[in-house]
Symmetry: D2
Subunit: 255 residues, 4 copies
Amino acid sequence: MEKRVDLNCDLGESYGTFKVGRDSEIMPWITSCNIACGFHGGDPLTIRKTIDLALEHDVQIGAHPSYPDLAGFGRRVMEVAQDELDSLVKYQVSALKGMTEATGGRLRHVKPHGALYNVMSTNEEVARTIIRAVAAIDQSLYVVGPAGRPWKAIAEEEGILFAEEVFADRNYMDDLTLVPRTREDALIGDVHARLVHARMMVLDGCVRTVSGKEVLICGDTICIHGDHPLAPDTAKALSQGLAEENVLVTSFAGS
Amino acid sequence: MEKRVDLNCDLGESYGTFKVGRDSEIMPWITSCNIACGFHGGDPLTIRKTIDLALEHDVQIGAHPSYPDLAGFGRRVMEVAQDELDSLVKYQVSALKGMTEATGGRLRHVKPHGALYNVMSTNEEVARTIIRAVAAIDQSLYVVGPAGRPWKAIAEEEGILFAEEVFADRNYMDDLTLVPRTREDALIGDVHARLVHARMMVLDGCVRTVSGKEVLICGDTICIHGDHPLAPDTAKALSQGLAEENVLVTSFAGS
Amino acid sequence: MEKRVDLNCDLGESYGTFKVGRDSEIMPWITSCNIACGFHGGDPLTIRKTIDLALEHDVQIGAHPSYPDLAGFGRRVMEVAQDELDSLVKYQVSALKGMTEATGGRLRHVKPHGALYNVMSTNEEVARTIIRAVAAIDQSLYVVGPAGRPWKAIAEEEGILFAEEVFADRNYMDDLTLVPRTREDALIGDVHARLVHARMMVLDGCVRTVSGKEVLICGDTICIHGDHPLAPDTAKALSQGLAEENVLVTSFAGS
Amino acid sequence: MEKRVDLNCDLGESYGTFKVGRDSEIMPWITSCNIACGFHGGDPLTIRKTIDLALEHDVQIGAHPSYPDLAGFGRRVMEVAQDELDSLVKYQVSALKGMTEATGGRLRHVKPHGALYNVMSTNEEVARTIIRAVAAIDQSLYVVGPAGRPWKAIAEEEGILFAEEVFADRNYMDDLTLVPRTREDALIGDVHARLVHARMMVLDGCVRTVSGKEVLICGDTICIHGDHPLAPDTAKALSQGLAEENVLVTSFAGS
């Protein structure tokens, strides 16, 4: 069977005149994007322009909701009660969904941002709240979350699809958690090494962890961090390098 | 033919622990509500609770978008370019629409708030931008705006419905603009006088202006300002007093 | 020797048109106030008006800095690095200090707000960062913090004064932590019981905890929560009731 | 007599992880800086770091207050009442002053930002409110404003110093207003042309306007816009080029 994978990137994170990321250089090489919803970046006009850019390049559109923390770019854990978290997610996803549809597109997935993604990765209650909130907005949306966690089962219980995400630019521990950013070997800095890392995950279904072990991993989509200077080069290298291996690089939600 | 009119009120304007309005006392007496969208009031959890309250009382739900100005409660004119205004409206209306649908309800109308309503009242370009943005989100939505302005024609051009709004608690000039708040006779302070004022507009289709003239006016919906201490009493008096005159007090968008 | 105590209250927490608290009813009965600095409440104009009101009633002025969380009213713990916390405190205290001096007054103390107060109560690193930041702004300022914690020693190390605070409206555990708000006996609801509670702490230097024990406690200042409906009555009852016992009710920083 | 001039630049405009400007490349070449105060950019930690950088390069420190408009970077005119404007300025200047003093420095001037600067340039009431607010915080501060306007006289009335600012990178109309940004000849794009423009203003006390006339102008300080890609080169070229003409390039407030 043909191997296939999606390449995703977080985009639309500028806020007013504060510019973040090189969206227009990255968009041609990815197959899905996660658009900031205004809570860590992404004012309404930036959202609309990013939707336009995604449609122009036929890139699948997702919402990228966050804790409400512009000053911290959504990277700080906040004490948010479950009913408030439910509303925070619904509000942001709804805003993206309506704006995407107003431009003739369709919202296909939701990927939590920053600290919210991290909390979701380890906290089942938060994962369930997010999955339920997304399902309440649109049962046909995918939730994108970390590979190797049992959240896919929760999504199935809630009748919603779950796409597992792996990272081309991050090293893994043996238990498939990411090497903490405080360690020197957290990041894979070289574009070619990222391609080798990604290729192994896609073609062989396993990852070489920092201890040297090969551990099984299954990724529907590969994340490229858009705020890194090498992001456009990485996106291009992965898009071309995986295609050369006869991997179908395409959005996970299908057309 | 039976006379009919809608009673509307701006609700859900609290922000976090900052409480505004007596929503639960007003909701039983009105037929439509305009829910703040987070830009002048109304955090996501407040929005959800207000939607729940409206559904409980079978009150028609509308979005109440604003300039982004929490500190000024949306009452200050802001320099916003037309493409940004378009996105601001779409973002807020989408958020309300998605959250309403997630609760099993349906968003039926959009009424701009505060300074945005005032600018829309006198500026055709702004009125057109708002009307188009709403139509792009959902062609079946009503836009609510001031009675006696030519915006109904713009809405028809854009293929969207327009509900004309009159004010029970405000006096009118001969040209159907409101008496400025800086004048002593701007407000009608007494609940009974408000009922008399509203009854004349609904039953006779005209309003007695501050100069004493009777001028034709046509209102689909009567606004009650929710932040006034007499708001619950006014809502109740209008609801009951108009029903006694065999006016059908019901939402303008129908069931 | 004459017993003396200060009565303090958190004021100036309104934000724009969002009104909080009954400042003008409380101010006549207290001897020091903690003015919100704009991060959980308190826009610049509200700050100036609150300073004016304090000067009018000869009430000692303090700054009431918070985590930057308007939506959560500063009641949610935030992940803030120590160097950022240092700057957050300095910024807010500086704003209050300059505005107070511009009105002819003098800033005398700093009391952290909400979640920042709670974290400071249990976290020595945070307590030290706050104390140092305050000392860097003005060595003559007092820091106000919880009684029964060893922070007074830290303040002395940093060459700054520390005022210990007790609560008239809260019950204590045997270890002098407050009974958690989740428990039914967290609050002392009755004004007279609050006076009895405060009188014992001031006159006898001990508190009757929820277990019935009498535990030594030393309070330089008694806090009255300004957002409670009984706040003005409590302030008046404590001010008058303690004076009747020949306690000198006066600000802790002296004149 | 020796000619002297100050070179100023707006710095510290980053907000959290949103980075703006190349502060560390510009700081070595200027003699005064205007530091954002948190209302259009500049969170507290960024403020502290910018103060540190200025002290390291012995650059005079000023506050750069703005309308409260992060999304619009302070470039949009806002409807703000005079008493609120007074408080907005006092709050921001106080925050900068206290934080500068806590680091061992001294705040020497205040220059309004963006739309506030523009409104001040043409509106005497606003100019007076700003000047009075600054004087109330610290009578020894300079206000920096546009050259060729009669505000220097207002400052003298209020007993405060006024520094007149000219622009190295902007063309002038015959009446000494700036050529509007909507015109193609608004900006002087070339570094050498900027030096010629600045040199004429400093050495000859006049400016060649877009009509070709030479009009008298007097500048205490030359502004370099920090967000332009050529800002570091311009700062270096002016600093070196003016020194070669025996102009003393030094801060206007003296040491």
